[in-house]
Structures are given as C-alpha cells and as structure tokens.
C-alpha cells in the first residue's frame, strides 16, 4: 500500500479526470482529462515514465487495429455500402413495420459484430433514420433498435467492441475461444432485445408502412464493389489471424491500405476524405485512461475492489453474475472504457481457470450496461427535471422505461447464457 496521502491524492486525480470525461464541460474532448490525469498521477509519483511506455505498448496493437478499421469503415460509408444495406433492410420488410424492425436489428447486429458498435451508432443509425423518415414512419423504435443493438450485439468478436479488444489483448485470450464463449450470450442478448422491443413498441409496429420502400437499390459503383470485396477479404483475414493466434492489427492496416488503393483506383474517394473517418482523439484517450488505471492500481486503490468482485461467493455462477452486474453499473457511473480497464486490473487475480468466464461476464456488463445510459441516464433525468420546472408535464416513464426495462432483461439473458454454457462444459 502506498502512502495514504499520496493514495488519496491519486484518488482525487482519478475522480477529477472521470468527472471531466463524463461531464465534458464546454464540449471538452475527453482525451484532455485522460492525458491530464495520467500527467497528474505521474507528477504524484504513482506512475513512472516506464509505466507510461508500458501502457503505450500494451494498447498499441489495439489502437493500430482501430486505426485500420476506421479507414475501412469510412471507405464503406463513402462507397455507399451501408446505405445499400439500410435500403435492403427496408425493401426486404414487405411493408411490415414489425419485419422492418427485425431487419434493422439484423443489420445492426451484423455491422456491430463485424465492424464495431461505433460504426453502427455513428454511421448506420443516421442512415436508418433517413430511410424510415422517408417512408413516413415514426423513427423512434427503429432508432432505438440501432443504438441498443450496437451495445447488446457487441459481445461476439474481439473487434465488435473496443472493450473486447482491450480485454482479449491484455489477457491474451485466443480469438476463437473468446468468440465461442461469447456467441451464445450474444445471441441471447440480441434475441431478448428484439423480444422486449417488439413488446414495448407494439403500438408502433402494428400494420403496414404508409409508403412502399423504393424498389430500386442504390447504384453499385466500382468503388462500392471494391470496398465490399476488401471488407470480405479483411474479415476472412481477421478470422484466419485469430485462428492462427496472430495479432489482428496487421490485417486491419493492410485492409486500410487496400481500401485506400481501391478508392484511388476507382476515383471513389480521396485520402483526406478517408482520413476524416479517423477519430484521432481516441488514441490519447485510451492511452491516458490505461495510464490512469495503472496509477490507481499502484496507489493500492483497486485491491479492495478486487476483493468485492472476486471473493465472498461460494459458487462460480454467483461470482459471474456479481462481476457482470458491477461492470454494468460501473459502465453507467463511469464510462465503459475506464470501467473495462479497472476490471482488467483485477481479472488476473481471479482463481486459475476462472479468468475467461469472469472476463466474459465483465464484458457482458460493460458492453450491455451502457444501453441504459442512453435512455435512462442522468442526463435524461436532469432534462426531465428541467422541463418540469418550466411547467411542462412529461410522462417520465415513457422515456425512462425503455432502458430501465430492456437493459436488466438483456443483461440477465446474456449472463444466464454464460452460466448455462459453464454448466454444459
């Protein structure tokens, strides 16, 4: 244990950084408090330059992978691949509102699994919004379907969520072992999500669409075909690399180079346009958060937390549910990235043979949990209070129930699938 004063100062730096990351006063980019917090902990002597370098080495592979996949996703968007997929989801609905919802779920789950939740939320959701508003339909259920499936469907592959990448990379979990363990919880989570939404939005889903979706699909240019082919090859490459136990980032960078080549050869997009798809601030943010978590580990602040998560339960199933629940709650109180890093600090302390299942439970929590904060967040509650003060009555339950009902049920389904899997092995 560190000197108590230094440990307390470390805790204060951690809490201040987290408050700034969550609150983002005046639109402050979250990379600043992450890097600033790391600097603060270094100044306190809780981090050495060697620690900062070690964190960069540990997160480097993940960040290079993200860099490559962000370029591929930008190319797919510019080539119209996602717009084509959204239009196909509408055309395949047969004018049924319910089938359209299921199609949106399938589209979101597929994009999330293959390319990450960021791509589903940032790129696919606006396309679904555009598609359904053009049909004269209330976009609410379809938009919620996108933002929720981006979380509930992000369990299956390492690349489906940054949290998965961080955990598999740090704990050295093999790609296919991870995927086999997560496939059933992922399927259970998405199926439960579809079922709950079909019930919550039943009034919106009765009957047919007021207008038929346009019959003609968006044009498939040479850039479209090239980008789609690169995606297919990239996925094959990622699966093969996973099978061989090789790192994923060289495949992602090669795919990025190939898409840039296709874009240049077909005149489909310029390099600056592809580069605009890269979220540069993510790199210092992930490094800074990794360093902060390492700093508070050095201050001895995670030891008590580890005791809560890892001990005091006789049955392994209870331990999994506790880890998943704590991870989900933490992902809502903090952000899911710092919560994942925090859990990563304690997972290696788990009893031998239990690390994989505990990592899976943690990821179920940090990946599904944040769906609650979109609909039932502190921000929503503050907004409700603000409009009430202006004398407007808001049927609060209508807005809060979606996350409050869905997230616990989806979380329970995924954790039950994980426990069941453990029992079957």
């Amino acid at each position: 244990m560190e000197h108590p004063v230094r440990a307390l100062l470390g805790l204060a730096v951690f809490l201040a950084a987290m408050a700034l990351v969550i609150g983002r006063p005046r639109g402050l980019n979250e990379a600043w408090p992450a890097v600033g917090g790391a600097g603060g902990l270094a100044a306190l002597g809780l981090l050495t330059p060697a620690d900062l370098l070690a964190v960069a080495r540990e997160t480097g592979g993940v960040l290079l992978f993200l860099l490559g996949m962000m370029v591929v996703s930008a190319a797919l968007e510019l080539a119209g691949v996602f717009a084509w997929a959204a239009s196909y989801a509408a055309r395949a609905s047969g004018r049924s509102r319910r089938r359209l919802l299921v199609n949106v779920f399938v589209l979101g789950a597929a994009v999330t699994a293959a390319l990450s939740l960021d791509v589903t939320v940032i790129i696919v959701t606006p396309l679904v919004y555009a598609t359904v508003t053009a049909l004269g339909v209330d976009p609410l259920p379809y938009l919620y379907a996108c933002t929720f499936v981006a979380n509930t469907g992000s369990l299956v592959f390492p690349m489906s969520n940054l949290t998965n990448l961080l955990v598999t990379d740090r704990l050295g979990l093999p790609f296919w072992r991870f995927t086999l363990a997560m496939a059933l919880p992922n399927a259970a989570a998405v199926a439960m999500n579809v079922a709950v939404f079909a019930w919550i939005f039943r009034g919106h889903l009765a009957g047919s669409l007021p207008a038929a979706p346009p019959e003609a699909a968006p044009a498939r240019t040479p850039f479209f075909r090239g980008a789609a082919a690169v995606l297919a090859l990239a996925l094959l490459g990622l699966f093969a690399a996973g099978l061989a136990g090789r790192p994923l980032w060289p495949v992602a960078l090669a795919a990025a180079a190939a898409t840039a080549g296709v874009a240049a050869a077909t005149g489909g997009a310029s390099l600056p346009a592809l580069a605009r798809g890269i979220s540069w601030s993510l790199f210092p943010f992930v490094w800074g958060m990794g360093a902060i978590v390492r700093g508070i580990e050095h201050a001895g602040l995670t030891a008590g937390f580890a005791r809560i998560v890892l001990s005091g339960h006789a049955s392994p199933a209870a331990r999994l549910v506790t880890a998943g629940g704590i991870a989900a709650a933490g992902a809502n109180v903090f952000n899911n990235i710092p919560m994942t890093l925090l859990m990563l600090g304690i997972l290696p302390l788990a009893p031998r043979g239990g690390v994989m299942a505990l990592a899976a439970a943690t990821l179920i929590g940090v990946n599904i949990g944040p769906a609650l904060t979109t609909a039932g967040s502190l921000a929503t509650i503050l907004w409700l209070a603000a409009v009430r003060r202006r004398g407007v009555e808001v049927p609060a339950l209508e807005y809060l129930r979606i996350g409050a009902v869905t997230v616990p049920l989806v979380l329970a389904a995924a954790l039950a699938a994980l426990v069941l899997e453990g029992g079957l092995r």
Binding site: R24, G27, N29, E30, A31, L117, D118, V121, I122, T125, P126, Y129, A130, T133, A134, L135, G136, V137, D138, P139, L140, L143, Y144, T147, A150, L162, R202, G203, H204, A206, G207, P210, A211, S279, W280, S281, L282, F285, V286, N335, I337, P370, T373, T374, A375, S377, A379, T380, W383, V392, E393, V394, P395, E398, Y399
Partner: protein, 179 residues
C-alpha cells in the same frame, strides 16, 4: 373564424385526413396542418453517439444532418396533406402549414394555443395495441361486472387530450371517431 389544427404524420396523411375533411363543416374555417420533428429519436442518437469516446464532434455534425432530414420529410408530408385537402375544401379556404421541433405532444398543445385552435384533430393509431373487435362489448353475464373492450391511447394522444385548450377529435384506424 374557426381554426382546425390537424397533426400530420405519415399515418394521418394516408388514412385520416379525408375523414377529418368529410366530418367537419368548413364554412369560415381555416385548416392548420402541423408536423412535429420529434426530438426524442434525435436526442437518443445524441446521447448514444456523443457518449462514444472520441466521437462527440462527429455525432454533432451527423445529428444536424438528421434533424434537417426529419424536417424535410415533414415538409413532404405537409405538402402531401395540403394536396389532399385543397381540392376537397370550399374555394377560398385558407390552409396553413406549420412545422415545429420538439416532443410531439408538447408541440401540438403549444401550436393549438398559438393558432387559437377551436379543434385539434389527430390520429390515435400509433402508440397503442390494435383496436378492439368491432362487434361491440361482450354480452352481460351474471357474476363479476362485464369487461368492455378498452383502447390504450398512446402517451402522445393522452397528453393532448389532457391538455388541449379546445375540443379534440381522435381518429381511430378502424373508422370510429371520438371527440
């Protein structure tokens, strides 16, 4: 002059507007067509996308685009509604198109105050389960009191009924009207 405010959504344009027109006397009456760009889905997108690490600026840019798309789709619905209404109304009847942005139920009430509406008409189709069967309530039985079929109004419709400063005309998908 009496003003009738009709809340327009995709379903209203297609199924209900002709019934509103057919049921009311339109002498010395102005028709105000209202579309509301619902900010709830936009807010959900803002929270979900803005909450992703490193994506806040991009989310904001895309949110502005989505908001413009929602407004455009609404303008198309208003134009369709006007095209449907104009030939069926007495010549010289004024038709106004209004578009607001916010939570639909709040904006419908705010617009009804603003235009001093004498009647608000809206479709009761979305937001509730399918309507009860048409063949009336079940026959009375001995024992517990009879259960009559119940319509579950959506929060939007309920809010408008509770807060409207004037008469409200609800149009059900099965053809019956509550006023």
């Amino acid at each position: 002059m009496r003003r009738v405010l009709v809340a327009v959504s995709g379903a209203v344009v297609e199924r209900f507007l002709d019934r509103v027109l057919a049921r009311l006397a339109w002498g010395d009456t102005e028709l105000c067509l209202l579309h509301v760009v619902d900010t709830r889905p936009l807010k959900e997108y803002g929270l979900a996308a803005g909450g992703l690490a490193g994506r806040a600026a991009e989310a904001e840019h895309r949110l502005r685009h989505m908001s413009a798309l929602g407004a455009e789709a609404g303008q198309r619905m208003l134009a369709d509604a006007e095209a449907l209404a104009a030939p069926r109304l007495p010549s010289g009847t004024t038709i106004r198109r209004l578009q607001r942005t916010g939570i639909p139920e709040h904006e419908i009430i705010a617009a009804s105050y603003e235009v001093q509406a004498g009647l608000v008409a809206l479709g009761a189709a979305e937001g509730g389960p399918p309507p009860p069967p048409k063949h009336g309530p079940p026959p009375p039985k001995h024992g517990p009191p009879p259960k009559f079929p119940r319509r579950h109004l959506s929060p939007t419709v309920r809010f408008v009924v509770d807060h409207a400063p004037c008469d409200v005309l609800l149009l059900y998908p099965d053809g019956s009207v509550a006023g």
